[in-house]
Amino acid sequence: MKRTFLFLAVVVCLLIASALFGVRIGEAAPDFNAVDSRGSTHRLLDSKGRFVVLEWHNQGCPYTQKHYQSGNMQRLQKEWTARGVVWYTVISSAQGQQGFVTAQQENDYLQRMSASPTAALLDPTGQIGHLYTAKTTPHMFVINPAGVLVYEGAIDDKPTTDQSDIVTAKNFVSLALQEATSGKPVSIPTSRPYGCSVKYAN
């Protein structure tokens, strides 16, 4: 009984700590296991040796819609997966919250939007979201082949819901990937992520 309590206390502390201490640039990106919308399992560690992009997603969020209805996100997915990058779209909306989808709904959405991430990871418990302290949709992370986080933040420098802003925006994810894949340090490693809050379970 006492031991169970102690165990629970430790788990709670770890959860609080992980919520407070997000991932940091230059440190190892925390490993996770996840099931995608097609039923396959993905483990981050299995992608060692390749660049990985994590894209927090909520199809009902106007900031996400800005980047999908314009085709901006799909362009990035296509361009970078073609160059060997692993691209995970992560959905951390809890059941009953905006953006929560069943596997079938997500597959329909991917097809409808011509989106081509490597996989759409379903995270309704918010476990991966909390592990990375994902705050907004979108919130972008870039992990290098050594498993180290090299970029974390917004998709670009125009924090609005207007599609017309995309043309003139500086895309931080492209920039980070361009620099990192050519062996340069990432010049802008963080930015304030902008968007809707991630709809975690309360």
Binding site: L20, V23, R24, P62, Y63, T190, R192, G195, S197
Partner: protein, 285 residues
């Protein structure tokens, strides 16, 4: 039981498709209309009933939000974005930036945003040109973009307009009281006898406010993103000449900063702009 031949079955399918498509449009239409306007009403108001040539006057973006909905401060915190306005005014008129009243901490799951609920007036000082002819009607217009959120967010835009006469003298408009009340919530410059400093260590800033008297309550709102972790609790230690506040550094802060800027609210209607030089210990420089 009616039986369908091949062609009527096809027709039935087409009709069904049409219905589905129309229903789809209707949903889209409903979404487009879900209207930020139904949960947040905005009006352009003026403190005075006239514009006096060569004089500064105040306009306000008056937001009335339905219960539970909020808009954002100039630093929105962990999500969202502040309202933005693009002014269209007659030649010679100059609108300054929005003067943001201090916000409140809006907590949702493990994050904190900074913003406003219920009712808020965002005040804007405007300068009228000296060569403005008395007796003219002045049309002041602005295009406002904002995002209003509860569990979900709705982006909105609206054209606002207000016509005021130009006159030699002005008097209070119907909205005058609202400006009076809101002005108390605008952060004031720090009193000249206050001394503020911040010391940086590995994962926190220790902000010391030396005010000459005890400060027993306070909340710090960072003006810049990526400096402090918005959701982290602020640890206060009050002392006879002021207060010391421990603020957790943002995980996104990778380089030392020279100054910690923010708004310190010490009591209702008592907020000050803080610009504290940061002392970085040797190993963090």
């Amino acid at each position: 039981m009616p039986s369908f031949g091949d062609s009527s079955l096809k027709r039935f399918t087409i009709v069904r498709w049409l219905v589905l498509v129309l229903a789809g449009f209707e949903t889209l239409y409903a979404a487009a209309q879900t209207p930020a306007a139904s949960v947040s009403k905005v009006a352009l108001v003026s403190e005075q009933d006239a514009v006096v040539p060569g004089k500064q006057f105040w306009l306000g973006l008056k937001f009335d939000l339905d219960p539970g909905w909020h808009i954002y401060w100039v630093n929105a915190g962990d999500s969202g974005e502040p309202p933005k306005v693009e002014w269209h005014m007659p030649q010679g008129f100059r609108a300054s930036d929005i003067q943001w009243p201090y916000p409140e901490r809006l907590k949702s799951s493990s994050f904190v945003d900074y913003g406003y609920q219920d009712h808020v007036l965002l005040m804007v000082p405007v300068h009228a040109p000296l060569d403005l002819k008395v007796g003219e009607r002045v049309s002041l217009e602005g295009h406002l973009r904002w995002v209003v959120c509860r569990e979900v967010c709705i982006p909105a835009r609206q054209d606002l307009a207000l016509v005021l006469p130009s006159a030699r003298r002005e008097s209070a408009s119907d909205s005058n009281d609202l400006f009076e009340v809101t002005r108390k919530r605008l952060p004031k410059p720090m009193p000249s006898n206050w001394r503020v400093t911040a010391v940086s260590d590995n994962d926190q800033f220790e902000l010391t406010i030396n005010a000459g008297h005890r400060i027993s309550q306070s909340t710090f709102f960072p003006l810049l993103p990526q400096q402090v972790e918005n959701a982290a609790p602020q640890q206060l230690s009050s002392f006879p000449r002021g207060v010391r506040i421990r603020l957790r550094k943002s995980d996104q802060l990778l380089k030392p900063i020279a100054a910690l800027k923010g708004v310190l609210v010490v009591a209702p209607d008592e907020a000050y702009v803080i610009d504290a030089p940061v002392r970085n210990p040797e190993h963090l420089r």
